[in-house]
Symmetry: C2
Subunit: 286 residues, 2 copies
């Protein structure tokens, strides 16, 4: 089967590689052409443009940055895509936008699955991503096998947009654990406690979290390289707000996390890891 893959970034490139290894004939397109080269070396086909990629593939995977990119790509791809083409969007986008895309693509005779991922670049490389899928069951079942090339836990979580809503629930919990970690360790620093001892004593108990285990060491080492960048987190938390408004949900902690992280973008720190929020809390402590 000929599949297309658009968006060969830190997540998309290893995912497309897994599809190649699973025996799929993969056509790739990336806005930055040289990013496609490692895939081409492993047997992928280079599409000249989005229109020719769409004309040649039965299924097209997207893994790009946000709502606007996905909307724009789909507008271009659908000008030449065959009737019934199945689009699988692994990007994290706004849930109401995902719902709208489901409706417009279905009206045009295409099929769509919102399928945001979690597990990070390590998960993409090792093929152990978690994939939250929203859409029709028969569409999910058709796409499921291919997604298992890079996904360990691949589940249908509801109808159109439900995958993105589940991703937002994930990002909300991530924001809480991040705030807990950064506020705890910045308080500890101000209190004159040893940060290494603090992290070790707290991580194993009721305060423990993935954030404590994975971001705690970054804070101790003052290593602010992403990882997951502040800019990406703020984008996702903006989508959380859009989704919460659409369903009348109250998310005060998430809005607080967004405000704190946004102020770091305003200070030119958007490309640092989210764990750098530790420094923003210290800065505000004066």
């Amino acid at each position: 089967m000929r599949v297309g893959f658009v968006g060969l970034g830190v997540m998309g490139a290893p995912m497309a590689t897994h599809l190649l290894r699973a025996g799929y004939q993969v056509h790739v397109y990336n806005r930055t052409p040289h990013k496609a080269q490692p895939l081409l070396d492993q047997g992928a086909h280079q599409a000249q443009d989005l229109q020719s990629l769409a004309a040649h593939c039965d299924r097209i995977f997207l893994c790009v940055r946000g709502s606007d990119d996905v909307t724009d790509l789909l507008r271009k791809l659908t000008t030449t895509a065959k009737p019934g083409t199945l689009f699988i969007d692994h990007s994290t986008i706004s849930p109401p936008v995902a719902e709208a895309l489901h409706h417009s693509l279905t009206e045009q005779g295409f099929r769509f699955l919102d399928a945001p991922i979690t597990g990070g670049s390590m998960g993409a490389q090792s093929g152990t991503l978690t994939i939250f899928c929203g859409g029709k069951r028969e569409v999910f079942e058709e796409a499921e096998v291919a997604m298992h090339a890079y996904g360990k836990r691949v589940e249908l979580v509801g109808g159109p947009g439900a995958g993105q809503r589940m991703k937002m629930a994930n990002q909300i919990a991530v924001a809480g654990a991040l705030l807990g970690l950064c506020e705890s360790l910045s308080f500890a620093q101000k209190a004159g406690l040893d940060l290494t001892q603090t992290r070790e004593m707290l991580a194993g108990g009721a305060a423990g979290s993935w954030a404590f285990d994975h971001y705690g060491p970054k804070i101790l080492n003052q290593d602010w390289r992403p990882g997951f960048s502040i800019a990406n987190q703020v984008k996702d938390l903006h989508y959380c707000e859009e989704a919460a408004k659409a369903i009348d949900a109250t998310i005060p902690m998430t809005l607080l996390a967004r405000e704190l992280l946004q102020s770091m973008i305003d200070q030119g720190r958007g490309e640092e890891t989210t764990a750098a929020l530790f420094e923003e809390l210290l800065r505000r402590s004066g």
Copy 2:
């Protein structure tokens, strides 16, 4: 060695039992006398009042509710305590109050260790508590062996009040993980997602935490029995605020958590488990 134990609640009773088993001659006193009976059955000595307990013991452990209780107990105990008596306070109290107690007890010729605990009633029963100790190193070293009767991780984390400050750092991180869990699952419920699937898919990834593992099931079962009650959490978060003010630290998420939980106390839900915050967020969603 004769030791005293004051406060035979859900934490203190099993801790005192571990001291008995470790061979200490334990004198007990509890405001509610019948709570002492199981200890007496195992060989503890009943003190008639605080003054006689203090007169007979070289070390006195406290495990009561908060700053006011500890201050009041110490005022009474010190009227008859022998010079050099070592007081070990396992209660969670306000860090600035703990510092003041260190100073006044030292001036009176006594010794003091602030030693708040974490690990819950299960940890107290199994003798696997984590104990954050603040005070002089020689005082810590004298008390350390006895605390290992019920503590797995027993560490000196700094000078006077440092144990309480570390406990506050712990409670701050706990509040973040709790908010992350409750805001995530209340959003998921409003979004029409299956809560069991949501918890399972999120708990194993970057959103994961002790709270997800231990409070998530309570939310799924709508089981609001404590555990750690909202009233106790609010008390601790109030101490976090006092401590943060004293050291000029910024803790906006912690203050948000306190406001949300305080409003549940105002609704008469103070004795429920903190995981019931899930319902408060749903209520505010309308």
